[in-house]
């Protein structure tokens, strides 16, 4: 028995003795598992691969916050036999995430990652989502979301050479917007501290306003549609933050809605139709929202009217072809009038020259007569 397993076993025996009973399935809580698996040098019996669980990361994971314990996922641990070096059976079966996340699993089975298994490449949930540190990504920037998932394996910079503004798309558009094309989309606005030049956590916004997740929307949205913040109410919210010394702008990103269908990632049908997004009537303009994630991992979605995108506070947002949501529509009108004005001016001048041609002819003839 190696030294670490021995020490762990001793601790387990001590725990069992203190409880006055043999450790059983029902009695094992996360703490018991972490007594051994909290050791960063813990490896499998054969020495291959770490079985360490970072207690801190696990503590803040959505699963722990929501009361999901080790044995809820590792269901085949069974009763612990503390007389053994490894007090549970090995190897354990792979965790079946689909046991709880049924819809996500069924959508995944239709996607390209599942299809890769035909080539002998097994991509399990944790390859994208991680093991014990799964957290909500809802209010994370696109790049951070992708770093935790797609970019672990994929290097989009190597491809997409056809795509104009490649880096801009990678920064502001989630991969699945194009690669899970059946998904509904949402334009997500993130608070940006203009003074400190950094993104603002929702807690700071709520603290400045003196409200909480539930009180945020009613504080500003008081019209006939309380579930949606209008453009005026949005401006009031910005002014309220300004008055409290928080000068904010907003960064807009295009995301897939949080929906199990996002797991049906495709390759061959990845969208290459620019006009689907770069059009004034693109459907996602109707879905604009802010997401706040609370300390328990709960996501609070606040719906916004699409006219919010015309606010000066969202001045980093511009899509060619998005004229109907842009405050610059008067610019188009003014520009078209300018061009038409130039055309009309030219036509009038030309008509004036044509109309006055006889006058010039008479004048010319008179001069010639005088010269003769």
């Amino acid at each position: 028995m190696n030294r670490k397993w021995g020490m762990s076993l001793a601790m387990l025996v001590l725990a069992a003795a203190m409880s006055g009973a043999a450790a059983s399935w029902a009695a094992v809580d996360n703490g018991v598992c972490l007594d051994c698996h909290g050791d960063s040098s813990l490896t499998r019996k054969d020495g291959e691969g770490s079985v360490f669980v970072d207690q801190k990361s696990f503590q803040y994971s959505v699963h722990n916050i929501n009361g999901i314990g080790c044995l809820d996922c590792h269901t085949d641990v069974g009763d612990l036999d503390v007389s053994q070096a490894v007090p549970h059976k090995t190897p354990l079966a792979a965790v079946n995430c689909g046991g709880c996340h049924e819809q996500a699993a069924s959508q995944y089975r239709l996607g390209v990652h599942q299809k890769a298994s035909h080539k002998g490449i097994i991509i399990q949930c944790q390859a994208c989502h991680g093991y014990h540190d799964v957290v909500s990504n809802e209010n994370k920037p696109v790049r951070e979301r992708e770093n935790r998932s797609c970019l672990k394996c994929h290097n989009p910079g190597k491809y997409h050479n056809w795509l104009p503004q490649k880096e801009t798309h990678f920064t502001y558009v989630q991969c699945t917007v194009c690669h899970a094309p059946n998904m509904p989309h949402v334009i997500h606005l993130r608070f940006y501290d203009l003074a400190k030049r950094q993104f603002l956590e929702p807690e700071r916004v709520l603290a400045a306003l003196g409200t909480d997740f539930d009180g945020f929307m009613p504080m500003f949205s008081r019209d006939a549609k309380p579930e949606e913040m209008s453009a005026d109410e949005f401006e009031n919210m910005v002014f309220a933050l300004n008055r409290r010394g928080l000068y904010v702008g907003f960064h807009a990103e295009l995301l897939s809605q949080n929906d199990p269908r996002v797991h049906q990632v495709t390759k061959v049908s990845a969208k290459r139709a620019c006009a689907d997004c770069h059009a004034a009537n693109a459907p996602f303009f109707d879905s604009v929202a802010m997401f706040f994630v609370d300390q328990n991992g709960g996501v609070h979605q606040y719906k916004l009217d699409r006219k919010v995108l015309e606010s000066y506070s969202v001045s980093n947002f511009y899509l060619p072809g998005s004229g109907a949501v842009s405050r610059l529509r008067p610019l188009d009108l003014g520009g078209i009038l300018l061009v038409l004005g130039a055309g009309v001016g030219v036509m009038l001048h030309l008509a004036g020259r044509a109309a006055t041609a006889p006058l010039r002819k008479r004048r010319h003839d008179r001069k010639e007569g005088e010269a003769d």
């Binding site: 104009p164 503004q165 006009a275 072809g321 300018l338 055309g343 020259r353 006055t356």
Partner: protein
């Protein structure tokens, strides 16, 4: 020159002179006085620059319209329009710096710098000519020479365009080409929408300017005289 204008007017006038159709027919039949002296005005590098720029501007305007009104127009696919706009945009930027280098090197840059002496009077004369004198058959108050090829209004317009508006259009175009790469400059200017506002405003200005420019180019002693000169380099004195 006055004699020349009189001959042109004689060509434009006549029985049909008062109708637009008649005028158009007359415009197609320029009257040229063989006795007039030809003066070399437009140097070859400037002519090449001008026509490359002209073709590029047309492409930029067409693709720009497609990009701006994506989903409403179908001149090109948006993808094609953006790529073409980018390539041609870089061509215009290169062309601009060749123009600048040539004009600085040859000293011709001075042609674009208005002389403040008598400027107000010259502007007044030129405005009166275009709004009144041209209809009466008065001679153009400005005589084209190699040392003074632009009238005072052309000089000021071209100076503003070449030293302010084109550089601004190039800079904003460059920033919009790769928003992420230039995000610090874009943020300094107030965000991508402000940069885009400038770029699109100038796009409309240049579209309007092009209409006026082409029309004014037909106001030589024959409708094609200035345009021909931009190919041959020679204007009639």
């Amino acid at each position: 020159m006055e004699v020349m204008n009189a001959i042109v007017e004689a060509g434009l006038a006549g029985e049909e002179g008062a109708s637009v159709a008649g005028l158009t027919r007359k415009l197609r039949k320029p009257v040229v006085a063989a006795a007039n002296k030809m003066v070399y005005i437009h140097h070859a590098p400037i002519r090449v620059w001008h026509w490359v720029n002209a073709a590029a501007f047309v492409v930029l305007l067409l693709t720009g319209v497609q990009i701006r009104f994506a989903g409403r127009l179908n001149l090109f696919s948006l993808e094609e329009a953006i790529h073409l706009h980018n390539y041609v945009g870089f061509m215009v930027i290169s062309n601009y710096f060749l123009w600048l280098l040539y004009n600085l090197g040859s000293g011709q840059i001075r042609l674009y710098l208005p002389n403040p002496r008598g400027m107000a009077r010259k502007i007044k004369e030129q405005v009166v000519y275009y709004t009144y004198g041209i209809f009466r058959g008065d001679p153009n108050p400005h005589q084209v020479t190699p040392e003074d090829k632009f009238n005072v209004m052309q000089q000021q317009t071209y100076a503003i365009i070449m030293f302010a508006l084109i550089p601004l259009q190039m800079a904003t175009g460059l920033f919009l080409w790769e928003i992420k790469r230039f995000e610090n400059y874009i943020n300094f200017m107030g965000g991508v929408r402000i940069v885009n506002l400038l770029h699109v405003s100038l796009f409309f200005f240049f579209a309007a300017f092009l209409i006026g420019h082409i029309y004014l180019a037909t106001l030589g002693h024959t409708p094609l005289a200035h345009i021909k000169a931009m190919f041959t380099g020679y204007e009639e004195e």
